[in-house]
Structures are given as C-alpha cells and as structure tokens.
C-alpha cells in the first residue's frame, strides 16, 4: 500500500474534473430549481407578481384546507396500494426468472418484461382508459362473449382504475431490483438450509426472502416515489375521485397562476414521500445491513 500521495491526489483531481460536468448539470438543473421551489413556497402570489415577504400562509392553507389534505392523503394511499400490488405481483416473476429460467434465456425474459415499459407512457395509460371505460374494450368484450350483462363499474374512472394502470406501468421497475437481489443469493445456502432439515417453504421464508429484502426495499422505493407524483394516470382514468396531488400542483401552476401555492404543495408532497421512504428503510434496516 505504498501508493504515493501524489498519485492519489492526481487521481482525485482527474476524477473530480471528469465528474464535474454531470455534477454541475444536476446542481444547475435540479438542486438550484428545487431550492427555488422551496424559497417560493414561502412567498405569496400578488396578482401578476410575487410578494416576497416570507410567510407560512401557504403551508397553513395546505394543512387546513380539506381539499389539499384529501388529495395528499389519497395520493399516499393510492401510491401505497400501487406499490403493494406491483411488488406482490412482481416478486414471483423475479423469482421465476432467477431460479427457474435457464441462464442463457434470462436476458430474453428480462428484455420481454422491459419492452412495454419503454413504449410511450401516455399511449399505455390512454389504452387503459380505453380498456376499462364504460363502453370500453373489457366491458364490450365481456358483454359480446356473454359473461356479463351490465358494464363492470368498480373499475370505472376511480382509484381502482388508477391502481391497475400504475401497477402495469411500473412492473419492470419492481421486477428488476428484486431479480438482481435474487441473483446474488448463494445457492449453496439454500441447499444447506434443506440439508439442515428445513422444508422448501420454510427455506424460502427463512433464507431466500430475507436475502432478497434489499431488492424488495429498492423495488418499493422505486415504485412508491414516482407514483405519488403521477399526473397522467389520475387525469385519464381516475375520474373526479381518483385525482392526485400532482393534478392540483399542475392546476396551481398553469391554471390558477398561483405558483407559490403550487410550490408549497410540491414541497409538502416531497417531504411526505421522503419521510415515508426513510421510515420504510429504517424499518427494514436489519435486512439491508449485510448488503453494504
């Protein structure tokens, strides 16, 4: 370990020089704008201009107005439900590909799963609207075949439709991290567990699942965080009772011309997401320790 400090220093400099372009970009295009959002959330809209005296009025309004509160809680509820459904549906797929597909065919399966994700999000959400609608593909199809007489209404322009659509949209996001975690599991551990008298089922719950938890946690976060801010799905398939906080943020910015209130809602949404995410990671800390 006699690496001279000088070499280490030039390496340090070269690395930092190279990383400075992407880092600078993220600072300029993300960190600074986010700071601006935070700042503006303490201002108020004064007709066409901002009143820049700092105030907590927006936050007071956001917390007390039942509409904002309902939208925020609903967004968290829907995002939570979407995450649960997506991860539960995704786990068996990741498990299947990792444990039961021949190694040479794994990348084909992964490719098949990721393809729909790369096609236009707008088109996919719109297709769900077409599928789930009152005279939609599902209802008209089932009626033509004669399985149902009346259109199904529980999937019609409501929160359920939002959950189905988002669970579809975020499927690969959940499958891939779980798959990666499963691939890392040393297969001899499973044999050892069965040699020591555990059944297949108890091996799964006591060895496989705990070792896959880092992937599950990653999947939960990568689905939960973006879904809470989803705008397109609630607008297209959510109906009036399926609208979420992102729709209100858009209305504040582009329709009501009240950027400070929109900024406040954005900050509150981000804070709630981060809090929930941190809490979730903390709860699963014991599974994550080994992976570092």
């Amino acid at each position: 370990m006699g690496a001279p400090l000088a070499i280490l220093n030039t390496e340090n400099k070269k690395g930092l020089a190279l990383i400075s372009a992407p880092l600078g970009y993220v600072i300029a295009m993300l960190a600074v704008p986010l700071a601006a959002i935070l700042l503006i959330s303490f201002w108020t809209q004064d007709f066409q201009t901002f009143d820049t005296t700092p105030t907590l009025n927006n936050y007071r309004e956001a917390v007390t107005d039942p509409l904002y509160r309902e939208l925020l809680f609903r967004s968290i509820r829907i995002a939570g439900l979407v995450t649960l459904v997506t991860v539960l549906l995704a786990f068996p797929i990741a498990y299947f590909i990792s444990f039961h597909v021949a190694p040479s065919r794994k990348s084909l399966w992964l490719f098949l799963i990721t393809i729909p994700f790369w096609t236009s999000y707008l088109i996919r959400v719109f297709l769900w609207k077409v599928i789930l609608g009152f005279n939609g593909v599902l209802n008209s199809g089932l009626q033509t075949v004669g399985i149902i007489d009346e259109p199904l209404t529980f999937i019609l322009y409501n929160a359920n439709a939002v959950v189905i659509t988002l669970a579809h949209a975020f499927a690969p996001f959940a499958i891939l991290p779980i798959f990666v975690a499963l691939e890392k599991i040393d297969r001899s551990l499973l044999e050892a567990s069965q040699d020591l008298g555990e059944s297949k089922l108890s091996t799964f719950f006591r060895v496989t699942l705990p070792l896959a938890m880092p992937g599950v946690v990653a999947a939960v976060l990568i689905v939960f965080i973006p879904t809470i801010g989803d705008y397109v799905t609630p607008r297209l398939v959510g109906g009036p009772d399926g609208l979420m906080i992102a729709n209100m943020i858009q209305v504040q910015f582009l329709r009501l011309n009240n950027a400070p209130m929109g900024a406040t809602l954005a900050v509150i949404a981000m804070l709630s997401v981060s809090l929930i995410a941190l809490l979730f990671v903390a709860l699963n800390r014991r599974y994550l320790r080994g992976s570092r």
Binding site: S107, T119, A171, F253
Partner: protein, 266 residues
C-alpha cells in the same frame, strides 16, 4: 414450478395486452374503441400525414430527442468513466446525487425547472424541454455505460500507453471501440425516453408542442381517437424497433468484452 411458469406467462399477457390492442383498433373502421370489430381499414393511417400540427410536433420531438440523446450520453460517459476509473472524494454521494432524477417524481422536476426559467425571464421552447430531458435521461445513460466502463480491462489501456500512445489516442483507439456498443445503446435509450416523455414537455414546451403534448391535446376529442390509435401503433412499433437495436448493441458490447450476459439495461 409449473404453476410459476403459468403465472409468468399470464403476467406477460397482462403486460402486453394493452399494446396488443393498438394495432387491432388502429385497423378497425369504427370510431368507437369497443368490441365487436366492424371491419378493416387503413383510413386512420392515411389521415396522419395530412395533419400539419402533427407533422410539426413530430419534427419538434425528433429535434429534441436527438439533441437530448447526444448531450445526456456525453454527460453519462463522463460520469461512468469517472466512476469506473478514478477514486475521488465524496464519490458515493456524488454518484448517488447524479442518479436522483431517476426516482424523483417528474412533476417535481418539471415545476421546479419551470419556476426557475420563468424567474430568469427565459422563454419556453425546444431548448427548455431539452434541459429537462437531459436531466432525466442522464441517469439511464450512466446505468447503461457503467457496466461497460467497469468491464474494461485497465491492462489494455496501460498497454497502449506503454506502447507510446497518448492518453487521448488511447481513449480513441482502445477504450472507445470497446465501449461503443454501450454508447450506441445509451443514445438509443435516451432518444426513446425523450421522444415519449410527456410531463416535462407539457410544462416546458411553450407554444410548439412535442408529439406527446400534441397527442394529449387530441385525447379530449372522441372523434380523433382512431387516429391516435394509428399514431400510437407507429410510435410503439418504432420504440420496439429501437429497443431491439439497443439490446443487440448491448449484447455485442458484452461479447466484445468477452463477458457473460447477466441481464437487461437497468
């Protein structure tokens, strides 16, 4: 085991069902998207080139997507190279920070950029959309390029230097050919993301809509739906074609580096 396979196949059907409907109804000659099908027509496809607003939005989107792909791949190369070759202070937090746009809700990215652009008095247009798209595409490029740069054998570069090449010519003659499949793959992926992206474009596009923003404006009119389905068919077919190309490039890159294939893009 067998039930797991059945489940996997059902899951694939669930994943592909919506997309499979696109061509079915794009060629159906009813204006309402419902069963039973009424008849075959190519009318919706022939209508497409006759909509000037659509043509403009396609041009605008292509311009934005090409520039976004180039810029975000360049930034991605810098980051992936730095991460693979050098160790520097705060490496982990810096790399983590650069990847943040991957998980941030897009609406947050969109409104925060909107606020700062309006405060600076800049007018919205293609370039403001590009700014936002580069931000969200770069992490994907880094994810693709990372494995390529990490798989590089440092001995090859050292050998080139020992044999008298300059650092730049080493990069050009040795490194670049080895990572070029990953670079092409990153270009294609970021191009696809930018072409399809809606939220950021919706907020930052100004008066010239991108293709997804134009599509959004058409979804309100029931009479336009079959045309939208036709357009969607073309878009999805194009995306799938680009993806297959990107995947072939990625695999070629792995073969060139003499490595086993371990999985998809992410």
């Amino acid at each position: 085991m067998k039930s797991l396979r059945t489940y996997a196949i059902l899951y694939l059907i669930f994943l592909y069902a919506p997309i499979a409907l696109l061509p079915i109804f794009a060629f159906n000659d009813a204006t309402i998207i419902a069963f039973p099908l009424t008849g075959f027509t190519t009318q919706w496809f022939t209508e497409l080139p006759q909509i000037p607003a659509l043509i403009d939005s396609v041009k605008n989107s292509l311009y934005i997507a090409v520039i976004t792909a180039i810029l975000s791949t360049l930034l991605g190369i810098c980051a992936a190279r730095a991460a693979a070759k050098y160790s520097f202070r705060f490496k982990r937090p810096i790399m983590g920070f650069i990847m943040v746009p991957l998980v941030l809700p897009e609406i947050i990215v969109a409104v925060s950029l909107l606020v700062i652009l309006l405060q600076l008095g800049l007018s919205l247009g293609a370039w403001t959309v590009i700014m936002g798209h580069v931000l969200i595409c770069t992490p994907f490029c880094i994810a693709i390029l990372n494995s390529a740069f990490q798989n590089l054998d440092p001995a090859m570069e050292e050998a080139a230097i020992d044999l008298g090449e300059t650092p730049w010519s080493t990069f050009r003659l040795v490194t670049l050919p080895l990572v070029s499949p990953a670079i092409i793959s990153a270009l294609l992926i970021s191009f696809t993301i930018s072409l399809d992206e809606f939220i950021i474009a919706f907020f930052l596009t100004g008066t010239e809509p991108t293709l997804p923003v134009y599509l959004w404006s058409q979804l309100r009119f029931p009479a336009r739906i079959p045309v939208v389905m036709a357009l969607g068919t073309i878009l999805v077919a194009g995306s799938i074609l680009l993806l297959i190309l990107a995947e072939m490039m990625r695999r070629r890159g792995l073969r060139r580096a003499g490595l086993q294939d371990k999985g998809g893009f992410l």
